[in-house]
Amino acid sequence: MIVAEQKPIQAILATLQGADSVLLAGCRGCVTVCGAGGEKEVRVLASLLKSARNEQGRPIRVDTAVVERQCEPEFVDELPYSRDDHDAVLSMACGAGVQLVAERLQDAIVLPALDTTFIGVSEGKGTWVERCKACGDCKLHLTAGICPVTRCSKGLLNGPCGGSSNGACEVDPSIPCAWQLIVDRLERLGMLDRYEEIIMPADWSEYGKPSSMDRGDIK
């Protein structure tokens, strides 16, 4: 899933400087699961904003709404935004959601409340780790199911480099070396001979430009 975290409250307040009323919009997708932009976080942020602005002597009206997914037009269109009532929409979705809200509400000022950080998995309660950079040319079948594009600091497809030491990456001892993990797993699977196949350079042709996908079969 997509992992995000809330921006510091001061940064959010700064973006709301000119607004006296705002629609705070949460999302029940990934950001609910990672505890950054779901129902609960919307409630907490709304009250934080109100009390901070009361303290500043410039109260703000905060209306809230949580939709199923901010990355789909049909749900975004459910947002109870009105230009007369709201000076801005503060979205608690990932960056993609924020942008779809802006696209659907052509006359609204749409602001992000979160920093979208990565595509990752949960590693126990409250911990998420990055696992995929959406490179568009998945190599996991060649690397024992461990992504070197994401998890090797240099993205080496034929690692490890000479800095791999005691299972740790040369860049930071707290980061496991992806290639140590790959080699260990290949060995466990009895496939260490696969290590010697040279993995060809990645095809980045779909990566450097805005991607889109058109699937006729599900239209």
Binding site: S153, G162, Y195, E196, I198
Partner: protein, 317 residues
């Protein structure tokens, strides 16, 4: 206009010649200056001349900005030293790498060492974006294909093939140890002809690795040059032992340095380097040594002389 399609047009370099004649080769290393000062390379050349067969020119080593290895290699060449131009994947994508390889060969550079490169976080620009479009093995395979098939990575024809003598690095001391020999095999398959290793302080571990290399017959496909670094001080030895990932410095060596007076430690460091070279010459499959005297080029002539490796042969058939 006639275009050179073959690889026979230019004579081989001295390093390749010496290795192919089965003689024990000596290379050293010279870091380019942190400024537009060609005289620095000229000075390093004057120190090394007559003591080495070729000299590596590092490529923004440890991710610190320096004069580019292509220009610095060309300056060495002008001053009578055959360069081994280092090329890292951190700072150039596949387009730039192929272009620089063509440029290097055209300027008379014969040897190219293909490396992944240190991560940018180690240097003076940790905020930079590392390129890493390809890795060192893919870089080797790409340049090798330009030379043997006459094709660029994208498939188009190379109109005038270079004939660079391709090298790679190997670290027998990094983890995981069990793939260190297979990794060397991968580099050989990708087109490497010679290898320069990480500094050898831990001779037993190096020998263990070399045994694996010989079992796979890799010493017959690759010329292996063992890395030698003279230790300047106890501080440097301790730093390498504890702070440099993938470096093995045995305790005996630290003790030996500690046992001599502070002002005699430099001499001791050179002595250790000479002894290590002598051990390397005894190991079957080791074709030479690569002396990395980091910002201490003056040590190289002493070490080479101490090991009885002067005068250097010409390398020309």
């Amino acid at each position: 206009m006639e275009i050179n399609q073959g690889t026979e047009v230019r004579k081989k370099g001295a390093l390749q010649g010496i290795l192919e004649q089965g003689r024990f080769a000596v290379t050293a290393e010279a870091g380019p200056p942190r400024g537009a000062r060609p005289e620095v390379m000229a000075h390093k050349a004057s120190i090394l001349k007559g003591f080495v067969d070729a000299c590596n020119v590092t490529d923004n080593q440890t991710s610190v900005v320096r004069m580019c290895s292509l220009a610095a290699s060309s300056i060495l060449l002008d001053h009578g030293i055959e360069p081994v131009m280092q090329m890292v994947c951190r700072d150039r994508n596949r387009i730039a790498a192929q272009s620089d390889a063509l440029g290097a060969y055209s300027l008379g550079i014969n040897n190219l060492l293909c490396l992944s490169g240190d991560h940018q976080s180690f240097g003076d620009h940790p905020m930079a974006k590392g390129v890493f479009d390809i890795d060192s093995i893919q870089l080797l395979a790409m340049i090798d294909r330009m030379q043997t098939e006459g094709r660029f990575s994208g498939g188009d024809e190379v109109q005038g093939r270079p004939a660079l003598f391709l090298g790679a690095a190997a670290n027998p001391f990094a983890d995981p140890f069990r793939i260190r020999v297979p990794r060397l095999a991968k580099k050989a398959a990708a087109g490497a002809r010679f290898i320069q290793t990480q500094c050898v302080f831990d001779v037993p571990r190096f020998e263990e690795w070399m045994q694996g290399v010989r079992e796979r017959g890799l010493h017959e496909k690759l010329f292996i040059l063992a890395g030698i670094t003279p230790i300047k001080s106890l501080k440097m030895a301790r730093y390498m032992a504890s702070k440099v990932p993938g470096m093995s410095v045995p305790q005996e060596l630290l003790d030996r340095l500690k046992g001599v007076e502070k002002k005699k430690r430099k001499t001791e460091g050179i002595k250790i380097a000479v002894e290590t070279i002598q051990k390397m010459m005894e190991i079957p499959g080791v074709s030479g040594v690569h002396i990395m005297a980091i910002e201490w080029e003056e040590a190289v002539p002493k070490i080479v002389e101490g090991a009885g490796l002067v005068p250097r042969p010409s390398g020309r058939a």
